[in-house]
Protein backbone atom coordinates (compact mmCIF):
# COMPACT_ATOMS: atom_id res chain seq x y z
CA UNK A 1 0.00 0.00 0.00
CA UNK A 2 1.28 3.47 -0.91
CA UNK A 3 0.41 6.51 1.19
CA UNK A 4 -0.09 9.41 -1.22
CA UNK A 5 -1.11 12.06 1.24
CA UNK A 6 -1.32 12.26 4.99
CA UNK A 7 -2.74 14.81 7.36
CA UNK A 8 -2.70 14.60 11.15
CA UNK A 9 -5.47 16.39 12.99
CA UNK A 10 -5.61 16.86 16.75
CA UNK A 11 -8.65 15.64 18.65
CA UNK A 12 -8.85 17.93 21.65
CA UNK A 13 -12.32 19.39 21.59
CA UNK A 14 -15.81 18.41 20.62
CA UNK A 15 -15.55 20.60 17.52
CA UNK A 16 -12.95 18.21 16.13
CA UNK A 17 -15.71 15.67 15.46
CA UNK A 18 -17.10 17.94 12.74
CA UNK A 19 -13.63 19.07 11.63
CA UNK A 20 -12.30 15.54 11.10
CA UNK A 21 -15.39 14.19 9.37
CA UNK A 22 -15.56 17.20 7.03
CA UNK A 23 -11.96 16.60 6.01
CA UNK A 24 -12.72 12.93 5.41
CA UNK A 25 -15.83 13.72 3.38
CA UNK A 26 -13.89 16.15 1.17
CA UNK A 27 -11.15 13.59 0.51
CA UNK A 28 -13.61 10.79 -0.26
CA UNK A 29 -15.48 13.04 -2.68
CA UNK A 30 -12.24 14.07 -4.36
CA UNK A 31 -11.36 10.38 -4.86
CA UNK A 32 -14.66 9.81 -6.65
CA UNK A 33 -16.40 7.76 -3.93
CA UNK A 34 -20.15 7.41 -4.54
CA UNK A 35 -22.57 9.08 -2.10
CA UNK A 36 -23.02 5.87 -0.09
CA UNK A 37 -19.29 5.33 0.38
CA UNK A 38 -18.80 9.01 1.27
CA UNK A 39 -21.49 8.77 3.94
CA UNK A 40 -20.06 5.50 5.25
CA UNK A 41 -16.49 6.73 5.73
CA UNK A 42 -17.61 10.16 7.03
CA UNK A 43 -19.88 8.50 9.58
CA UNK A 44 -17.05 6.18 10.63
CA UNK A 45 -14.82 9.24 11.09
CA UNK A 46 -17.48 10.91 13.21
CA UNK A 47 -17.94 7.89 15.48
CA UNK A 48 -14.22 7.23 15.95
CA UNK A 49 -13.31 10.86 16.54
CA UNK A 50 -16.06 11.19 19.14
CA UNK A 51 -14.93 7.98 20.85
CA UNK A 52 -11.33 9.24 20.98
CA UNK A 53 -12.59 12.48 22.49
CA UNK A 54 -15.28 11.23 24.88
CA UNK A 55 -13.84 7.88 25.97
CA UNK A 56 -10.13 8.31 25.11
CA UNK A 57 -9.77 11.91 26.43
CA UNK A 58 -8.43 13.14 23.09
CA UNK A 59 -5.67 12.16 20.71
CA UNK A 60 -5.04 12.39 16.98
CA UNK A 61 -6.79 11.49 13.78
CA UNK A 62 -4.65 10.82 10.72
CA UNK A 63 -6.44 11.12 7.40
CA UNK A 64 -4.64 9.47 4.51
CA UNK A 65 -5.08 8.97 0.81
CA UNK A 66 -3.76 5.53 -0.04
CA UNK A 67 -3.35 3.42 -3.15
CA UNK A 68 -3.10 -0.31 -3.62
CA UNK A 69 -3.28 -2.32 -6.83
CA UNK A 70 -4.47 0.73 -8.75
CA UNK A 71 -7.31 1.44 -6.32
CA UNK A 72 -7.52 4.59 -4.27
CA UNK A 73 -8.77 4.67 -0.74
CA UNK A 74 -9.16 6.67 2.44
CA UNK A 75 -7.35 5.35 5.47
CA UNK A 76 -8.01 6.77 8.91
CA UNK A 77 -5.96 6.22 12.04
CA UNK A 78 -7.08 7.18 15.51
CA UNK A 79 -4.72 7.28 18.46
CA UNK A 80 -5.50 8.09 22.02
CA UNK A 81 -3.74 7.55 25.33
CA UNK A 82 -6.95 7.06 27.28
CA UNK A 83 -8.11 4.20 29.50
CA UNK A 84 -8.33 1.62 26.71
CA UNK A 85 -11.21 -0.79 26.15
CA UNK A 86 -11.43 -3.49 28.80
CA UNK A 87 -13.82 -5.89 27.09
CA UNK A 88 -13.15 -5.51 23.38
CA UNK A 89 -15.14 -8.56 22.16
CA UNK A 90 -18.20 -7.27 23.98
CA UNK A 91 -17.83 -3.75 22.58
CA UNK A 92 -17.37 -5.10 19.03
CA UNK A 93 -20.53 -7.14 19.35
CA UNK A 94 -22.44 -3.89 19.80
CA UNK A 95 -25.04 -2.64 22.22
CA UNK A 96 -22.61 -2.13 25.08
CA UNK A 97 -21.69 1.29 26.39
CA UNK A 98 -19.99 2.55 29.52
CA UNK A 99 -21.92 5.78 29.03
CA UNK A 100 -25.64 6.07 28.88
CA UNK A 101 -25.46 5.85 25.14
CA UNK A 102 -26.27 3.45 22.29
CA UNK A 103 -23.04 1.48 22.20
CA UNK A 104 -23.38 1.00 18.44
CA UNK A 105 -20.58 3.31 17.32
CA UNK A 106 -17.71 0.87 17.13
CA UNK A 107 -19.64 -2.20 15.99
CA UNK A 108 -21.50 -0.10 13.40
CA UNK A 109 -18.31 1.54 12.16
CA UNK A 110 -16.75 -1.86 11.59
CA UNK A 111 -19.56 -2.71 9.15
CA UNK A 112 -19.27 0.62 7.34
CA UNK A 113 -15.64 0.24 6.30
CA UNK A 114 -13.65 -2.27 4.20
CA UNK A 115 -10.69 -2.68 6.58
CA UNK A 116 -10.83 -2.42 10.35
CA UNK A 117 -8.09 -2.97 12.91
CA UNK A 118 -8.13 -2.17 16.57
CA UNK A 119 -5.52 -2.38 19.27
CA UNK A 120 -6.41 -1.36 22.77
CA UNK A 121 -4.66 -1.83 26.05
CA UNK A 122 -6.00 -0.91 29.46
CA UNK A 123 -4.22 2.11 30.87
CA UNK A 124 -2.26 2.64 27.65
CA UNK A 125 -4.74 3.68 25.01
CA UNK A 126 -6.44 2.77 21.79
CA UNK A 127 -5.29 2.69 18.17
CA UNK A 128 -7.79 2.11 15.41
CA UNK A 129 -7.12 1.92 11.67
CA UNK A 130 -9.93 1.81 9.13
CA UNK A 131 -9.98 2.08 5.35
CA UNK A 132 -12.55 2.42 2.63
CA UNK A 133 -11.69 1.83 -1.02
CA UNK A 134 -13.07 3.51 -4.12
CA UNK A 135 -14.52 1.19 -6.69
CA UNK A 136 -12.31 0.46 -9.68
CA UNK A 137 -12.36 3.25 -12.20
CA UNK A 138 -13.91 5.69 -9.75
CA UNK A 139 -11.15 8.25 -10.08
CA UNK A 140 -10.88 10.43 -13.15
Amino acid sequence: MIVLETCALPIDSEDDVVRVRTRVRDLAQRLGFDAFAVAAISTAASELTRNAWVHGHGGTATVEEVEEGGRHGVRLQFHDAGPGIADLPRVLKGGFSTRRSLGLGLSGTRRLVDDFEIESQCGVGTHIVVAKWARFGART
Binding site: V18, R21, S46, R111
Partner: protein, 119 residues
Protein backbone atom coordinates in the same frame (compact mmCIF):
# COMPACT_ATOMS: atom_id res chain seq x y z
CA UNK B 1 -27.54 27.87 24.64
CA UNK B 2 -29.51 28.72 21.54
CA UNK B 3 -28.84 26.40 18.60
CA UNK B 4 -29.54 28.97 15.86
CA UNK B 5 -31.51 26.35 13.95
CA UNK B 6 -34.78 28.09 13.05
CA UNK B 7 -38.05 26.57 14.20
CA UNK B 8 -41.14 27.91 12.46
CA UNK B 9 -44.74 27.42 13.40
CA UNK B 10 -47.44 26.66 10.85
CA UNK B 11 -50.81 26.37 12.55
CA UNK B 12 -50.46 23.44 14.97
CA UNK B 13 -47.14 22.23 13.66
CA UNK B 14 -43.55 23.19 14.38
CA UNK B 15 -41.24 22.80 11.40
CA UNK B 16 -37.49 22.83 11.53
CA UNK B 17 -34.92 22.20 8.82
CA UNK B 18 -31.82 20.97 10.60
CA UNK B 19 -28.67 22.42 9.07
CA UNK B 20 -25.66 20.47 7.85
CA UNK B 21 -22.44 19.94 9.84
CA UNK B 22 -24.39 19.48 13.01
CA UNK B 23 -22.13 19.39 16.06
CA UNK B 24 -23.05 17.52 19.23
CA UNK B 25 -23.44 20.78 21.11
CA UNK B 26 -25.76 22.31 18.52
CA UNK B 27 -27.80 19.09 18.37
CA UNK B 28 -28.37 19.19 22.11
CA UNK B 29 -29.13 22.90 22.15
CA UNK B 30 -31.60 22.36 19.34
CA UNK B 31 -33.41 19.75 21.40
CA UNK B 32 -33.82 22.28 24.20
CA UNK B 33 -34.96 25.04 21.83
CA UNK B 34 -37.54 22.84 20.20
CA UNK B 35 -39.01 21.60 23.46
CA UNK B 36 -39.37 25.12 24.84
CA UNK B 37 -41.04 26.21 21.60
CA UNK B 38 -43.39 23.27 22.03
CA UNK B 39 -44.20 24.36 25.54
CA UNK B 40 -44.88 27.96 24.49
CA UNK B 41 -46.95 27.16 21.42
CA UNK B 42 -48.74 24.00 22.49
CA UNK B 43 -48.19 22.63 18.99
CA UNK B 44 -49.46 19.11 18.38
CA UNK B 45 -47.05 18.14 15.63
CA UNK B 46 -43.34 18.47 14.90
CA UNK B 47 -41.70 18.03 11.50
CA UNK B 48 -37.95 17.64 11.49
CA UNK B 49 -36.49 18.02 8.03
CA UNK B 50 -33.07 16.36 7.89
CA UNK B 51 -32.54 16.61 4.13
CA UNK B 52 -29.54 18.90 4.70
CA UNK B 53 -27.75 16.32 6.86
CA UNK B 54 -25.17 14.37 4.88
CA UNK B 55 -24.48 12.12 7.83
CA UNK B 56 -26.42 10.97 10.87
CA UNK B 57 -24.19 9.17 13.33
CA UNK B 58 -25.27 7.31 16.45
CA UNK B 59 -25.07 10.45 18.57
CA UNK B 60 -27.31 12.55 16.33
CA UNK B 61 -29.65 9.56 15.90
CA UNK B 62 -30.02 9.31 19.65
CA UNK B 63 -30.71 13.04 20.01
CA UNK B 64 -33.40 12.82 17.31
CA UNK B 65 -35.07 9.78 18.86
CA UNK B 66 -34.99 11.31 22.34
CA UNK B 67 -36.35 14.61 21.05
CA UNK B 68 -39.30 12.76 19.51
CA UNK B 69 -39.87 10.84 22.76
CA UNK B 70 -39.80 14.02 24.84
CA UNK B 71 -42.13 15.77 22.41
CA UNK B 72 -44.50 12.82 22.67
CA UNK B 73 -44.52 13.13 26.46
CA UNK B 74 -45.50 16.75 25.91
CA UNK B 75 -48.36 15.64 23.69
CA UNK B 76 -46.87 16.22 20.25
CA UNK B 77 -46.28 13.80 17.41
CA UNK B 78 -42.90 14.05 15.63
CA UNK B 79 -42.17 13.01 12.07
CA UNK B 80 -38.67 12.94 10.59
CA UNK B 81 -38.66 13.88 6.92
CA UNK B 82 -36.24 14.08 4.01
CA UNK B 83 -33.65 11.52 5.01
CA UNK B 84 -31.14 11.07 2.21
CA UNK B 85 -30.75 7.57 0.73
CA UNK B 86 -27.09 7.32 1.76
CA UNK B 87 -28.00 8.29 5.32
CA UNK B 88 -30.72 5.62 5.43
CA UNK B 89 -28.26 3.04 4.10
CA UNK B 90 -25.63 3.99 6.68
CA UNK B 91 -28.10 3.77 9.56
CA UNK B 92 -29.29 0.34 8.43
CA UNK B 93 -25.70 -0.89 8.17
CA UNK B 94 -24.93 0.37 11.68
CA UNK B 95 -27.90 -1.36 13.27
CA UNK B 96 -30.84 -0.33 15.39
CA UNK B 97 -29.94 3.30 15.86
CA UNK B 98 -33.02 5.17 14.68
CA UNK B 99 -35.99 3.19 15.89
CA UNK B 100 -39.31 4.29 17.28
CA UNK B 101 -39.55 7.51 15.30
CA UNK B 102 -42.02 8.12 12.47
CA UNK B 103 -40.57 9.05 9.12
CA UNK B 104 -41.85 10.36 5.81
CA UNK B 105 -40.24 11.00 2.44
CA UNK B 106 -40.72 14.77 2.44
CA UNK B 107 -42.45 17.66 4.20
CA UNK B 108 -45.73 17.14 2.27
CA UNK B 109 -45.96 13.49 3.26
CA UNK B 110 -44.95 14.39 6.81
CA UNK B 111 -47.78 16.90 7.07
CA UNK B 112 -50.20 14.29 5.71
CA UNK B 113 -49.02 11.85 8.35
CA UNK B 114 -49.52 14.41 11.10
CA UNK B 115 -53.05 15.08 9.85
CA UNK B 116 -54.06 11.44 10.30
CA UNK B 117 -56.08 10.60 13.40
CA UNK B 118 -53.73 9.91 16.32
CA UNK B 119 -53.14 6.32 17.26
Amino acid sequence: MVSSIPVIRIRDTLLSAIQGDLSDRVAEAFQGDLLSRLERTGASGVLLDISALDIVDTYVARVLVETAQMARLMGAHTVLVGMRPEVAATLITMGQVLTGIDTALNVDDGLALLALPRR
